[in-house]
Structures are given as C-alpha cells and as structure tokens.
C-alpha cells in the first residue's frame, strides 16, 4: 500500500496527544484516591495546551489526504457502519472535550465537572485510537493488517509516545514521577517490541490467496499475467503497490526498529540502572521514538499487500509453494474449463 504521509503525521500528533493525556488524567485520578502528589496546575495547563495543539495539527494534517477538505465534516454521517467516520467523530470530540476540560481547570471549576469532562476526554481519546486502528484491522483485503495484533500494537504505540513524553516533562519540571515513567516507558516499549515482532512474524504464516482463487480457477492450473491493459501505471498499481517502498523496505525496517525500540530502550534502561537522569536523555528518547514511529508507520503501509494486486501479478507468491497438483501439470490436461 502507498503510505499517505498525512496519516503518518496524524498518527504521531494524535498518538502523542492522546497518549500523554491518558497519563496526565491518570495522575489526577490517582490523586483523588490519595495516591501520588498530583500535578502542578501550570504543568497540567502547559501539557494540555500541547495536547490540544497536537490534536488540532493532526486533524489539519490528516485533511491533506482528502480530496475535498471542506467536505470533511460530512464524515460524521456514516457513524453506524464506518470506522473512519467513528474516528472522525471521536477525535473531533476528544479535541473539543479536552478544550473544555482545560478551560474548567484553568478557572478552577467544580472538581465534579472537571473529572466528568476529564474522564469523557480519556474515553474519547481511547475510542479515537481504537477506531483509527480498526480502519486498518477491519480491512480483510490487506491480510497483513487484518488482525487484532494491529489494534493492540497501535494502542501500545500511543502509550509509548505518551509515557516517553511524560517522562521528559517529569524530569524537566522535577516532578516525582520520573521513576514511574521510566518503568512505564520501558514496559510499553517492551510490549510494543513484542507486538511489532508478532506483526512481522505473522506475515510469514498468513494463508495468502492465489491468482487462481482470484480468477476462480482450479489450483493446479498455472496462470500468469500477460498484460494489464495499459502501458503505464494506473491507480490500482500505484495506490496498492508502492514499488519504490518495496525496494527500500528491507533497509527501512531495521532503522525503524532501531529508532523505535533499541535506542529508547537502551536510554531508558541506562537511566534506570545507573540512576543518571537528565531531561536531554529523555528528550532524545522521545525524539528517537517519534522518528522511529514515523518510519514504522511507513513500513506498516508498505508491508500491507492488497489482494487486488493479484490481478496485476504484484502480490507475494508464497501462496503457490504448497499448492498440490502444481507439479502434476504433465499429467493434468490443462484447459480453462
């Protein structure tokens, strides 16, 4: 699949915004139950402003993959059936309730209303991330994506980005949560690494359809594409098969793994084991994770193979290797029905 850069940008901004809000609000909830010292008001407002700007930028950036940006509001119309519609509604509502939450917090409104809006924002943020992940996971024609691993990993990425940003701010403002966020960042990075590896390993075991299935032919008849009807590429061969990306994929994936998991894990573990902190270490951790996540999302798109590529002979051919009867072609009278 061709990677849309605007969607990668949306993932980074929305992921950082929602991920960090989850932790900010969790600290506020723990404070109600007498656990932890809470957060200073100015830190909550500063972080809230960053989260608000990020989700706004994300929504603006995501509109660049639309043909008609001004009609984007119409995306709320099919909430009942479309995950994209749900994503638009939930992410828009998340930004709106986040704004209200910050306004109420700024004016020291009743804690009842603050927590009502806070919990609503938290719920909408998680639902927004889940809906975005489901756009990919519910697509049964891109078998690499069509798995619960996609959803779990997507939400873990939000938590990775959020916890690493909170780790940076915790150290920057001298908050008593640096140790907790070192542990949480390590935990989510490790889980994220596990699920990303599972995503990659799963690709080797997918039972892929073949051209014979696409053309409704028996499996023992060798078929090959002779001509695709046009001398140049068309929408189907550029949108669903990114040739340049496929060539670069083997180089980009190791870099993505290195920046997303290896470098942040090394820095977090170094800080955890030696006790040497410093916001620059955690800043580098977050920047590395951000850059790695962008590359990882790029790989996620390029790794996806749409089944329509079968008609153009651009689908991976692993499906052919175990076909019974393929070697019996000399005994089989080959004809089309």
């Amino acid at each position: 699949m061709h990677p849309p850069l605007s969607l990668i940008f949306f993932f980074l901004t929305a992921g950082t915004s929602i991920g960090s809000f989850i932790f900010v609000y969790s600290i506020l909830v723990l404070e109600i139950f007498g656990k932890g010292a809470g957060l200073p008001k100015d830190v909550i407002l500063k972080l809230g402003a960053i989260q608000l700007v990020l989700i706004g930028l994300g929504a603006f950036g995501a509109s660049f993959h639309l043909g008609h940006k001004l009609r984007a509001w119409k995306a709320i119309k099919r909430f009942r059936t479309s995950w994209l519609s749900r994503e638009a509604v939930f992410s828009g509502a998340y930004g709106f309730t986040l704004l209200l939450f910050l306004v109420l917090y700024y004016f020291d409104a009743s804690p009842y209303f603050i927590h009502l809006l806070g919990s609503l924002t938290l719920l909408l943020g998680i639902l927004s991330g889940f809906s975005t992940a489901m756009i990919y996971a519910s697509n049964e024609f891109v078998l690499e994506w069509n798995s619960s691993v996609t959803v779990i990993y997507y939400l873990l990425m939000y938590l990775m980005l959020g916890s690493s940003l909170m780790l940076y701010f915790s150290d920057l403002y001298g908050l008593p949560y640096t140790g907790a966020f070192i542990f949480l960042t390590f935990l989510f990075l490790t889980l994220g690494l596990g699920f990303r590896l599972a995503f990659n390993i799963r690709q080797f075991y997918i039972r892929r359809p073949t051209l014979n299935e696409a053309l409704n032919l028996p499996h023992n008849r060798p078929v090959r594409v002779v001509d695709t009807g046009s001398t140049t590429d068309n929408y189907c061969t550029t949108e669903f098969y990114y040739k340049k990306g496929k060539e670069l994929l083997s180089t980009i994936i190791p870099v993505a793994y290195l920046l997303t998991f290896v470098v942040p894990l090394f820095l977090v573990l170094y800080s955890w084991i030696t006790g040497v902190g410093g916001h620059w270490i955690f800043g580098i951790t977050f920047i590395s994770l951000l850059a790695g996540s962008a590359l990882e999302r790029w790989c996620f798109f390029v790794e996806g193979n749409h089944v329509q590529n079968l008609f153009y002979g651009l689908y991976p051919e692993e499906g052919y290797r175990l076909r019974k009867g393929y070697m019996e072609r000399k005994e089989t009278k080959i004809s089309l029905y």
Partner: protein
C-alpha cells in the same frame, strides 16, 4: 429484488479493448464524467478508466491458452465498499442493485478503494473524488433512446458479442438463463462479496484432426488425380 449486472463470455472475448474505449468515450461526456486523463500526449499517459482488460496465460508452454478478463465494478450484492464510506457517498440502489458514488458527498478519502478486493474503483486526481462503473445508468433509464439502445455502452459496442446485460435475479432474463445453463462464475468467490457480474467459463473446443482429414482431398493422396479427372469429366458433361 432486481440486480442488474453484466455477464461476460470469456469464450468469445477477444481482448480488443473496444468495451473499455467506448466506456471511456461515453462516460467521459456522460452524467458521471469526466474520466480525467493525466499527461495524455506525454511519455507517461494514464487516467481514469471504469473498465480495464487484463490478459492471462494458463498452462505450460507449448500447451498454453490465453484469455482476456474485462474487469469493471462487479456491483457486489454484499458490496464491502459501501459500509466503509464515512460520508455515505457510496451507496447501493435498492431498486436495481447498482453501486454508485455521489460525487457531491465524496471527500476523496480512498477508503472504499481499499475495501474493494477487485481494484475496480479509481480515484480521479482532477475531480478529487472516487469514480467507478455506473452500469451506464444514464443510458439504461434514458427513455429518449430506442429500447434496444438502453444498455451499457460496453455491451452495445462489443464486436464479439461477449457482453450481456440484464437482471440476474429475473428467471426470464437472458443473463439469468446464461448463468444457470452455462455455469457462470464470479471472481474471488471466497471474499464474501457476492459479486453480481458473472463470467461465462471457457469451454475447450476439441477437433479430431485425423477424422477431419479423411474428408479433405489432399494433393499427396494417391487418388487425387483420379478424383480430379473424374470431377473434371463430370463437369464437362454437365456443360455439354
């Protein structure tokens, strides 16, 4: 409920691309046009087509067969492209089962094309909306046209008469009978899309050459001269 569809006979399709060309010609000026072209006179011409013809080869050399597969929107009865549309621009008409795109509501997010296993939806870079085969809905209901012309442009133009149009749910229709009698098949039957467009399977025509040659008078036949002389004499007598 009616379900209009195309039935394409792969036995007679010669892969001439006339259906694709006439589809483009009609629809680029019709109600659902234009079908934009990018760089039409340059080195990399491309553009939007509702109908594309793909050619495949089956078998191992020298026992190979080549067949052509005209592929346009299959107007699936369980169209996966319809529920994913966030604006409701993609819809399936209840009265005839045709899947259409409302260009005024389409935001060009391309998600419907991601949800089509056949690759039958194309994004128009000029209009910034998704376009697809309409089964020439602006022709088939046009009462100003003679009844025999109220068919999709591709069906009317096919020089090999490989394309048929009708209601596949109506037992009296030509396409219903064709599908039933000649085991019409669909593309990607495992995808759960239940496509409406059907294809007629290729049938192998077997000719026994030895048996056939018995009836041919060849020059190396020892009886050749005798037969020719007899034939010549008979003709002469008839003239006289």
């Amino acid at each position: 409920m009616a379900q209009f569809a195309l039935v394409i006979d792969l036995n007679t399709c010669v892969g001439c691309h006339a259906c694709a060309t006439n589809c483009k010609e009609w629809n680029t000026q019709g109600s659902f046009g234009p079908l934009s072209d990018y760089d039409p006179y340059g080195s990399e011409p491309s553009g939007v087509w509702y109908n594309r013809i793909l050619t495949y080869e089956t078998g191992e050399f020298p026992d190979v067969q080549v067949f052509h597969l005209p592929k346009s929107c299959l107007h699936c009865q369980d169209a996966p492209c319809v529920p994913v549309c966030p604006t409701g621009a993609s819809y399936k008409r209840e009265q005839d089962g045709i899947v259409l795109v409302n260009y005024d509501d389409c935001i060009g997010c391309k998600l419907c094309s991601w949800s089509c296993p056949y690759g039958c939806r194309e994004y128009d870079e000029a209009d910034k909306v998704m376009k697809k085969c309409t089964l020439c809905i602006d022709r088939i209901y046009d009462e100003t046209l003679p009844p025999e012309h109220r068919k999709p442009a591709c069906v009317l133009t096919c020089p090999a008469r490989a394309r048929f149009f009708g209601d596949i749910e109506d037992p009296d229709s030509e396409v219903y009978k064709m599908i039933k009698e000649r085991n019409g098949f669909v593309l990607f039957p495992d995808m759960g899309t239940n496509p409406a467009n059907h294809y007629m399977a290729r049938t192998e025509t077997k000719i026994n050459i030895e048996e056939f040659e018995k009836h041919i008078l060849k020059a190396d036949n020892p009886l050749f001269l005798e037969v020719m002389k007899k034939h010549h004499t008979k003709n002469k007598e008839e003239v006289a």
